[in-house]
Symmetry: C2
Subunit: 91 residues, 2 copies
């Protein structure tokens, strides 16, 4: 019964995605990359610090990355494995 995937790696990914707010953020970022924090906060109607905390969890799990674009920080899903998982969901 050999296992051919990295269980710890995927456990971390699933854990990061196992929250409605974070899954929504990640899924939306996959479909439409480059979104800043305030915009997410407004769209989701969730306080900005709470959004930042969830983004931090997603970043630590290597699900997303952020880069500064002038005034703000633009996030996107930057993980092939995550993209292939999220892409499955709408099928």
């Amino acid at each position: 019964m050999e296992i051919d995937i990295d269980i710890e790696e995927y456990t971390a990914i699933f854990k990061a995605l196992a929250h409605p707010t974070r899954l929504t953020i990640a899924y939306n970022l996959m479909k439409k990359p480059e979104c800043n924090v305030n915009r997410m906060s407004e769209c989701l109607n969730i306080p900005q610090p709470t959004v930042s905390q969830h983004l931090s969890i997603l970043k630590n799990a290597k699900v997303i990355t952020g880069k500064r674009c002038g005034n703000q920080i633009c996030y996107k899903v930057d993980n092939k494995k995550v993209i292939s998982i999220l892409s499955q969901l709408a099928k």
Copy 2:
């Protein structure tokens, strides 16, 4: 920014899979269905009651189902969405 997937449904799935033991069980069951509890307990070297608890969580999340086969209960992954997610992992 319309969302076209059922966030709650997938959150429940990811939450169920977001544990090393449960992910291992689900992944193995997908690759080789029909495994009973004691066998899992032995293969994983995890106490039987603990395995049962994890199976219960996977069942509640509709990830697996179990049916009695004579003396024992055989579990398998019985959820198309979960199968399509788990199938991605080895790619």
